[in-house]
């Protein structure tokens, strides 16, 4: 098991290297000269050249690549063209907000989705199950921005229970500020989880090994919560992981609706402003997040599924 963990973790290194390379070359291909953007349309050729030199853009591409690689490995993503603030600093400032939102949303999705999914499987083909299916389909179909605005109007404007913007200070206030946005995202994911959990559980409960368990005289509760549950969680973990990556790369719309700072809004602003270093830094961070979350999902699979652990 430890061997598998180490091997799986080491495998992320070549992946990261490849991604960083792709990010570098993609950004060189994108039209628009950063120096020209910084200096404006009317800059003299000499000034542009001077800036090229200062930014290292006059050097051959492979040399630029090596410098970039070296800087990236040291966590130096350069400075924002506009604010002159260090990119790493901006990312480090924005990341916790996004991370908190993602974590809280997934938490809400799990505590709603997994138990309801199990209940829906246990009460398969009853009125309760049908009702739950209708509700979850409605929630699934409702776009997040609609739910977000709706919650904002009802629980922040009409009934001023929750703040409408910002992130708050201190642990409890932060959670308080997170409630509306994470419910907005969480319920959507929960609706999907209910369906996944339920169908996965129904599939498991009809398998041969469940019949064996019942033939042993094991109580129905254990049949569900021990035998069927562990096997049916495997596909659900995948869904949770996918959603987590999506959320960590910035829930842009939700961040805008609730006026929260975060990676999504940081990257979006940088793209509009053609702030290359910030775009580049955000991309690398997103890449890291995707790779790490996937790693965690894979590792949690191996906890659930002995066949992966031992192969």
């Amino acid at each position: 098991m430890i061997k598998y963990f180490i091997r799986r973790t080491l495998l992320t290194i070549p992946t990261m290297f490849l991604c960083i390379t792709i990010i570098f070359f993609c950004l060189r291909v994108v039209p628009g000269d950063p120096a020209l953007i910084m200096l404006g349309e009317n800059a003299t050729p000499e000034a542009v050249e001077g800036l090229h030199k200062a930014m290292g853009l006059d050097k051959p591409i492979w040399e630029q690549y090596l410098t970039f690689l070296n800087d990236t490995l040291q966590g130096d993503f350069g400075k924002s063209i506009y604010s002159e603030k260090s990119v790493s600093k901006q990312l480090i400032e924005a990341f916790p907000h996004t991370f908190n939102l993602a974590l809280m949303s997934i938490f809400i999705a799990c505590i709603i989705g997994i138990p309801l999914g199990i209940v829906s499987a246990r009460k398969h083909n009853t009125l309760f199950d049908d009702g739950l299916r209708v509700v979850s389909l409605i929630v699934l179909a409702a776009p997040a921005f609609l739910v977000g605005i709706f919650l904002l109007i009802v629980f922040s404007v009409q009934i001023p229970l929750f703040p409408s913007m910002g992130v708050g200070n201190g642990f409890f206030e932060k959670i308080y500020y997170l409630i509306l946005p994470s419910i907005t995202i969480g319920t959507g994911i929960a609706a999907a989880l209910i369906r996944f959990m339920s169908s996965s559980m129904i599939e498991e409960i009809n398998k041969d090994y469940i019949r064996t368990v019942r033939a042993k005289g094991i109580p129905e509760k254990l049949v569900f919560y021990k035998h069927a549950l562990r096997n049916s969680l495997i596909p659900v973990v995948t869904v949770i992981g996918l959603n987590m990556t999506g959320l960590l790369s910035g829930a842009v719309i939700i961040e805008m609706i609730f006026s929260r700072p975060g990676l999504g809004s940081l990257a979006l602003d940088a793209i509009f402003a053609r702030d290359f270093p910030v775009v580049q830094g955000s991309l690398i961070l997103f890449m890291l997040i995707v790779i790490i979350v996937n790693l965690l999902v894979d590792l949690s699979y191996s906890l659930l599924n002995p066949r992966i652990r031992q192969s």
Partner: protein
Amino acid sequence: MGVLLEVKNISVGTRRNGEFIGILENVSFKLNKGETVGIVGESGCGKSMTALTIMGLLSKNIFVESGTVNYEDKELTKLPTTELNRLRGKEISMIFQEPMTSLNPSFTIGNQLAEVYKHHGNFSAKEIRQKSLEILSKVKISDPEDKLKAYPHQLSGGMRQRVMIAMALACSPKIMIADEPTTALDVTVQAQILDLINELQAGFNTSVLFITHDLGVVAETCHRMIVMYAGQIIEEGTVAEIFDHPSHPYTSGLMLSAPRLGSAIKRLKTIKGVVPDIDNMPTGCRFAPRCPYATDICFEKAPFLEKMSETRGVRCWHKL
């Protein structure tokens, strides 16, 4: 030899648009103490359904319409699940056809075996471990210590079936139902498993209900046999009686279609046609459309299971 289990006029089926569609029809038989009874028939004739009815493991849309399953002083079909759970695995246990899929892939053999002891007795963790090791060596699994920690996918089909047998015999049950336990295994392993079941049956003095489509297996392991066709018992008797002189054309057809070593016959006989669909059961004898001896009466009137002696019964208008 006292009667241990008595299945009496059991009819099992499903309901479609309010109409009852029978799968098993008036199945009755007895299982005596220490006896092995074989249930034989083609696929889809109701063998497994009979076993699942006894175990109370029928799927949700299939139910017992009438009849009783009596075990000691209990009527199993009326027993609530919690009561049934006290018997299942302890007094009546079952092994299944597919050893590859019949164990939970996510738990170790030890864990799945320990469950049986945990729910059918008051044992300490140490005792359970001891008992598990004992039963694993009884079913001739080498390195039982290692196997307790193994997951099902690390074992071969034959090994898994041994584990299944170990789980079934863990509490020395009075009845073991073996539903085609060797069908999915290759021939050498099949022989080993059959030997094992025979040996353990004698050792534990367990009554065995052996479900199979393999007449050779019946001849080797059973005292009495029941031949089923399309949800009905069509012939029953001791193994010697039936093998000596099959009275039902279907039984005789089954025997002719089994390959025999050293026989000069180049081509095996087959029984033409297939088991009828539950939606279109023939009105008369269910076997009539495939029977070479069928006459008008066979198509018009359903034969009854005629008792010919204490052990013997045949459902046919033209007994051979």
